[in-house]
């Protein structure tokens, strides 16, 4: 396990390193050069020069990269001249509510998709199975913003069950008013549930054809024991990988729902920064979202290895 842990962590480290190179290249794609773009259109030539010096962007590219990386690793993403705040603290203030909503949706999606997928697999090719297959296919295909918008339209505007426009500006807001995050969490849960339940259904169907199922039944295991004791447990292990792989989509979905439901999370910050042509904030948010996703996948892979010894020996 230790060898696998080290190998996989090193791999994640390389990936994060490549993400930073990628972000650095994106920085230099900016029109008018990196510094001009970062400082914003209102910056004076002196400010541009100071920023360039401060971030080391007035030196040869490899040196620049190392200095920039050093700053980034210390959480210094530069200064946002548009909002007169450091980019790092701006982003830090948004992570709590975003993580809370994404995490809650993830847990709900897992909790709902397992029984639904299991039921579909056990009752395969029945009316229930076909209905759920269609439902999850549609939920999987429809863009998140449309699901968010339709839920908002139905529950806030038509039925008026939920008061509209509850701005969520902090983690405290998100945590203390469950009603206001009901629809955002429901949206993310629905889109995530769609892909998970499709997976659970096919994984359980696969496991049901395995020989150990026949052995268990031959030994006199009850149907219940066969299903929950053997099939479900084996089908669930690879799901951890699926969860790791779906993290970027989930975080991406957060961008959409934050916009639709007026939540001041990292997605909303990114969008509003992009609308103001605020390159520094957008790039830093992109970099952080990427790095957090790599860490999430790493955790998923390590727990997979902890649960399934075969992975470690590969």
């Amino acid at each position: 396990m230790t060898a696998y842990l080290i190998r996989r962590s090193l791999q994640a480290l390389v990936t994060v390193f490549l993400v930073t190179i990628f972000a650095f290249l994106l920085l230099h794609l900016l029109p008018g050069g990196a510094v001009r773009g970062l400082a914003g259109p209102k910056a004076t030539p002196l400010q541009v020069k100071l920023l360039a010096h401060e971030m080391g962007l007035d030196q040869p590219l490899p040196v620049q990269y190392i200095k920039w990386l050093g700053n980034v690793l210390q959480g210094d993403f530069g200064y946002d001249y548009t909002n007169s705040q450091s980019v790092g603290s701006e982003i830090a203030g948004t992570l709590g509510q975003s993580a809370y909503i994404v995490g809650l949706s993830l847990v709900l999606a897992i909790v709902i998709s397992i029984p639904v997928g299991l039921l579909q697999a056990v009752r395969r090719n029945t009316f229930l199975d076909h209905t759920m297959t269609v439902v999850s296919f549609v939920l999987w295909g429809v863009p998140t913003f449309l699901i968010a918008f339709l839920l908002q339209d139905l529950f806030e505007d038509q039925l008026r069950w939920i008061a509209p426009n509850n701005e969520i500006a902090s983690f405290h807001d998100a945590f203390s008013s469950p009603a206001s995050i009901l629809l955002p969490v429901a949206t993310l849960t629905l889109t995530t549930f769609a892909s998970y339940s499709r997976y659970v259904r096919s994984a359980v169907l696969d496991e049901l054809t395995q020989e150990y199922v026949r052995t268990a039944i031959a030994k006199g295991a009850s149907r219940r024991r066969m299903l929950y004791g053997h099939v479900l447990r084996n089908a669930m292990i690879p799901m951890i990988t699926l969860i790791g792989l779906s993290l970027p989509t989930l975080v991406g979905g957060a961008v959409i729902i934050e916009n639709v439901f007026n939540i001041d999370g990292i997605g909303m910050l990114t969008t509003s920064a992009a609308l103001q042509n605020n390159f520094g904030v957008t790039l830093a948010a992109t970099l952080i979202a990427g790095a957090l996703t790599v860490i999430g996948s790493l955790i998923a892979d390590l727990s997979y290895a902890a649960l399934d010894p075969r992975v470690r020996l590969d």
Partner: protein, 308 residues
Amino acid sequence: MTATLEDDVLPPEPTAVELGLDSAEKPRSMFRRGWEVFAENRLALVSLIFLVVFCLFCYLGPVFYHGDAFVSNLDAVDLPPGAGHPLGTDPNGEDVLAQFMHGGQISVNVGVLSGLISAVIGTLYGAVAGYLGGWVDALMMRAMDAMLSIPLIFLLIYLGMVYGHSTTLMVLVIGFTGWFSITRLIRGEAMSIKVRDYVAAARMMGGRGPRVIWKHILPNSIGTTVVNTTFSIAGAIFYLSTLSFIGLGLQAPNVDLGAILNTGTEYVDQGYWWLIYPAAVAIILVILAFNVIGDALRDAFETRLQKR
């Protein structure tokens, strides 16, 4: 259908007449066989017909229907659907049906072009990585993992902010960020194809890497490419409409269906449903249709493989 099965199973080979085929007919190609399986999937056929009708409607519609999509008429603002304006007008008095046709064209154009770009890049990248193997493959895959781990929407928002002011650049941005899933699959195929005997034979006869990739790996993985091009077109339309919806997509007057929807949702409180639901339903159906067709194509090509 039965003819196809017997075709492969029965020795000695039945004559064309026994199979009920015209003797002049050529052996069926893999695309022909694939089509036969595809055509049995009713939902996929309906989706295909829907897409054809949708495209005819959007591309040929403006020939027959002359509404002012981008000319405001302040005497006719916010009209509900009725005579003269089958889908009503927007708050500028512009005709919604004409906008819808134009938006549909933009969505399909950008979707198809970006999807094709993604397919080409993803296929080549995957074929080269899979064929070369070793540390080059490892490096190429790690680089891809890095790009893949950045949530696509962040990347699109960033690139869209830098380049998003023209349709051409938007096509390139979406095309250049949508190729990752194809790459994985083609790489897998390339790895299995390169160890086959015919590749060894081709190499022994002096065929070098580019020739093996071009003549053997790419033709043999064409099924995967076609299937995933369909999915990447769906993905491109999905992401374009998402970007437009949050106001970071294309600029007027080149608005896609997502941008029409974005405008519509600003007036949701006034109950102007005609600004919202036609575009919303069109986006949902077009994306679902491409996904259904992709699923059916995958079944078609996989069945072909099983029948060999």
